[in-house]
């Protein structure tokens, strides 16, 4: 099928317009906000940032009778290791995001939208600013959009390099000018979000799908993919495949198809060993598991992992699982905000345990400790970062225990020995 999101030659406003762009906005402005939310609910669109929460339902949580402003925030702080899809969307199809935000803003009654973009995306920020300026010049953003009486202003705010600011409430703290640390919930952002006002936070990819849903109807979008995982999804494939990159596929596509067809299979001489299917925090799948799973929310959950952000990290047989987990642990240890005890202390402890195993100082007991520390972190903190550390630990150790045991027995993996156990 044709791509909905990643389309060629629509980056400029004229091209986007010529391809039918901003027609959905005009259509939306003639609808009632509740009607738009109903359409998005019907589409079955689920949050593409990682959690997969139904977008229409999220919008409907904004209290009807809330006084004062409401805000729409786009989470473009794409930081999950392995993920590089929002960046691609912003480069190739920025107006789908802008239009989607204007429609969403109208639906929830927000006059202001913020795009919180990852600090490292300097060039993308400039592109986005330019696209917003051209949309504003055409009257798609600003006061009295298309004569509808609806005002919607859009701001781009650059992050300062913290992974945790991709967590929606930490993002709000950062946007407000504070240290990026997740907030206690409840209250949820829909009730008390940005500057204490009702706020909807959606991922870039989620918002970019909205114009299509308005243009073609929720039913048509829902018809793509399996029942509870409707629509298309961007998959970012990295690792030893022939053609790594971003692919837009209907949800429900077999992972085997993505690797073998879209990506042209494994690189010569490399054998598939494992796949992290949804970004670094999702549990790893063995080659056998990976080749039997479909890429949708339910199938991956049934396989014991998650669709997450759609970052498919392909691990070949030349990789050492202990070393890989050590890399992840170093990342999560560095990025833990330090607020909650289990995450603050646990991430550091896990990295130290893995350092011992990797350096040949580890013992068999360290492997058990690793698992019990991960257990003690799971489900015990304000946000999901501790779980994001614990899930790979548990899955790596469970599924590739022999490699950890080999390390504990003193057989480390110098480059030449990689893949031998």
């Amino acid at each position: 099928m044709a791509n909905i999101l990643l389309r060629d030659n629509v980056a400029g406003i004229e091209a986007y317009f010529a391809a039918g762009g901003y027609r959905p906005l005009k259509k939306a402005l003639a609808l009632k906000p509740a009607g738009i939310i109903e359409e998005v609910k019907k589409s079955g669109l689920r949050g593409r940032g990682g959690a997969g929460f139904p977008a229409g339902l999220k919008w409907s949580f904004i209290p009807k009778d809330a006084e004062g402003p409401r805000y729409l925030v786009c989470n473009a702080d794409e930081g999950e290791p392995g993920t590089f899809k929002d960046r691609e969307l912003i480069i190739k199809n920025p107006h789908a995001l802008i239009e989607g935000m204007a429609i969403a803003g109208f639906a929830i009654g927000a006059a202001h939208g913020y795009i919180y973009i990852r600090g490292e995306f300097a060039a993308e920020t400039a592109l986005l600013e330019k696209a917003i300026a051209s949309a504003r010049a055409k009257g798609f953003i600003g006061r009295n959009i298309l004569g509808s009486g609806f005002d919607f202003e859009l701001f781009v705010h650059r992050g300062a390099g913290a992974y945790i600011c991709g967590e929606e409430t930490a993002l709000l703290e950062s946007l407000e000018g504070f240290k990026g640390q997740p907030r206690l919930k409840p209250p949820f952002p829909a009730v008390k979000g940005l500057f204490g006002s009702p706020t909807v936070i959606n991922n870039v990819e989620t918002l970019a799908a909205v114009p299509y849903i308005i243009e073609h109807g929720g039913d048509k979008y829902a018809a793509i993919g399996p029942a509870r995982s409707s629509g298309t999804k961007l998959f970012c494939v990295s690792g030893a495949v022939n053609k790594p990159g971003v692919y837009e596929l209907p949800l429900g596509t077999p992972l085997r198809d993505l690797i073998e067809n879209n990506c042209g299979g494994m690189k010569a001489g490399k054998k598939l060993k494992a796949v992290i299917p949804g970004g670094s925090s999702t549990p790893v799948l063995t080659a056998a598991e990976a080749l039997g799973v479909n890429l949708d929310y339910e199938s991956l959950a049934a396989a014991g992992s998650m669709l997450g952000s759609g970052a498919v990290i392909v691990i070949d047989d030349g990789q050492c699982m202990v070393k890989l987990l050590q890399v992840l642990a170093r990342f999560y240890h560095h990025e833990s905000c330090g607020q909650c005890t289990p995450c603050r202390e646990g991430c550091g402890w896990i990295e130290k345990l893995l350092n011992r195993l990797e350096d040949g100082r580890g013992t068999a007991g360290d492997i058990d400790t690793l698992c019990s520390v991960a257990d003690a972190m799971t489900g015990r903190t304000i946000c999901a970062l501790a779980d994001a550390m614990a899930m790979p630990v548990t899955s790596f150790v469970t599924k590739f225990r022999s490699e950890f045991e080999a390390h504990a027995a003193g057989r480390c993996c110098p480059p030449e020995a990689q893949g031998k156990y």
Partner: protein, 490 residues
């Protein structure tokens, strides 16, 4: 009003109450580090997690609002495991320097470890994160970052109570540490509350540091005489020496205590503490001093006068009034003090630095006497030649005494209190050594209770007044502080 069940017992709580508060109402204790009833909820230490039926994860009791029909369990295996895990996490990077830590004996890490963990360490000593040790961070506090568990009570106290925001958490993850913000020192008027708030030995009091071990301390409930607020306090003492003062939180006046109030105990054992009399600048034994003072009073006859003091208890003021009325038989006495009352800084410190202005006015109501204006006028006019008063109250008549050359006889606990030009000074026992009643700015009658014994020979003021009367040839028959109150309706 939501009704819920905690560990099988049903409780009805106010709307908005948290599970921790609801449990407290039932007498169920839930361990906590970051939670403090007077600070905003942080929910970050994860020590107070409990099980709520139908909730897939454990929830923090400090931040979860009680809802009707909730079934809460605080003693399940899941809850016990969570507490044990949090304690293990908190201890892996803790230096375990309890033998040299002031907090030992009153440390939440020690107490909770004994109550909820008792696990053996699985963390290699050499892997512990090292942090800055014992830094002075203000006039009253020392900070040891290694002992800190990052509960952020201190940060929230400075942000929310004193609104001075000196502290913040720097860095992230297990590199996090509490530090002063750039260009700040922890020198607000309430900094020592942080030593109390800190559940571990990270913030310790510079004053109390290494004085004694916490378990030796005996505790006496008494009141602070640092100003007219009259906070409820506890004096902690060992071997007849007060070592520190902490607040006794109460709804009427104080949760906290100011640093000034906390330091008032220092006068008790200060180097300039008076145990003998002072005539002009010479120290002499008490008996000859009393004899000398008595003869100066007798010499003045009806020109002798008594001025009460808002720094003295109601009983001691009453004793002074008896001295004027029954021993000196003079009309020249005054208990007329007015000072603006009210909290000066929005927290605790009163505009009136004296603790008993209201109590002294009670004497005025009961015994009459001159207004302070008339009293001063009579000194100026030479009608009063000798004034007996308390050292700090002498400030009210300082100028007119100097101008007229009247003789000033003062009671003082410390040499530093003695006003310039005083003719004689008599010592008396401080209110850490003798009881007394005080009335605070709200009209609350509160009692100072002795924590320690006065030095040999140092007597309460009423007893000194009794002796003075005897030397003057009369007897007031005061056998205890309350005897002076006879005829005073209060």
């Amino acid at each position: 009003m939501p009704k819920l069940t905690i560990d099988g017992n049903t409780v009805e709580v106010a709307k908005g109450a948290t599970l921790l508060e609801a449990a407290q109402q039932l007498g169920v204790y839930i361990p906590r580090y970051c939670y403090h009833p007077k600070l905003t909820v942080s929910g970050s230490c994860r020590m107070c997690m409990v099980e709520v039926e139908k909730s897939p994860k454990l929830v923090t009791a400090c931040s979860t609002e009680a809802a009707d029909g909730m079934i809460v369990r605080t003693t399940t295996d899941k809850v016990k495991a969570a507490r044990k895990d949090v304690l293990e996490f908190l201890l892996i990077n803790h230096p375990l320097d309890c033998p040299i830590c002031d907090q030992a004996g009153e440390c939440s890490l020690q107490d909770y470890y004994m109550a909820y963990s008792l696990a053996k360490s699985r963390f290699p000593q050499g892997d512990k994160a090292r942090r800055a040790k014992r830094r002075a961070v203000g006039p009253h506090l020392v900070l040891d970052n290694e002992r800190c568990i990052l509960c952020t009570r201190c940060v929230r106290f400075c942000a929310e109570v004193t609104k001075t925001s000196e502290l913040d958490v720097m860095e992230r993850a297990d590199h996090s540490y509490i530090d002063l913000k750039e260009g700040k020192a922890l020198d607000n008027d309430y900094s020592l509350n942080i030593a109390d708030l800190c559940p571990v030995g990270a913030f310790t009091s510079r004053d109390f540091r290494f004085k004694t071990r916490a378990w030796f301390l005996k505790k006496t409930s008494t009141i602070c005489l640092g100003c007219a607020t009259g906070c409820l306090i506890e004096a902690h003492h060992h071997e007849n020496a007060v070592h520190r003062i902490v607040p006794r939180p109460n709804a009427e006046t104080n949760t906290w205590l100011c640093d000034h109030g906390r330091m008032t105990y220092k006068a008790v054992r200060a180097g300039d503490r008076l145990a003998k009399g002072v005539i002009k600048n010479g120290v002499i034994d008490l008996e000859p001093a009393l004899r000398e003072v008595a003869s100066r009073i007798d010499e003045a006859h009806s020109a002798a006068a008594v001025l009460g003091s808002p720094w003295l208890s109601v009983e001691d003021n009453a004793a002074l009034s008896r001295l004027a009325g029954d021993a000196l038989k003079t009309e020249n006495f005054c208990f007329d003090f007015t000072a603006e009352q009210g909290i000066r800084d929005g927290i605790l410190i009163n505009k009136d630095p004296a603790p008993n202005t209201a109590g002294a006015m009670l004497l005025k109501a009961a015994r009459g006497g001159l207004t302070l204006e008339e009293f001063s006028r009579r000194i100026g006019a030479g009608q009063i030649k000798v004034v007996v008063t308390e050292a700090r109250a002498a400030a009210f008549i300082k100028d007119v005494v100097k101008a007229s050359g009247a003789r000033l006889i003062v009671f003082a606990t410390n040499k530093a209190q003695i006003p310039a030009g005083a003719y004689a000074t008599l010592p008396y026992a401080s209110y850490f050594e003798t009881p007394g009643t005080f009335i605070n700015h709200q009209g609350l009658r509160r009692r100072a209770e002795p924590a320690v014994e006065a030095q040999e020979g140092v007597k309460p003021l009423w007893e000194m007044v009794n002796k003075l009367a005897v030397y003057s040839g009369t007897s007031l028959r005061l056998h205890c502080a309350e005897d002076a109150l006879k005829g005073i309706n209060f």
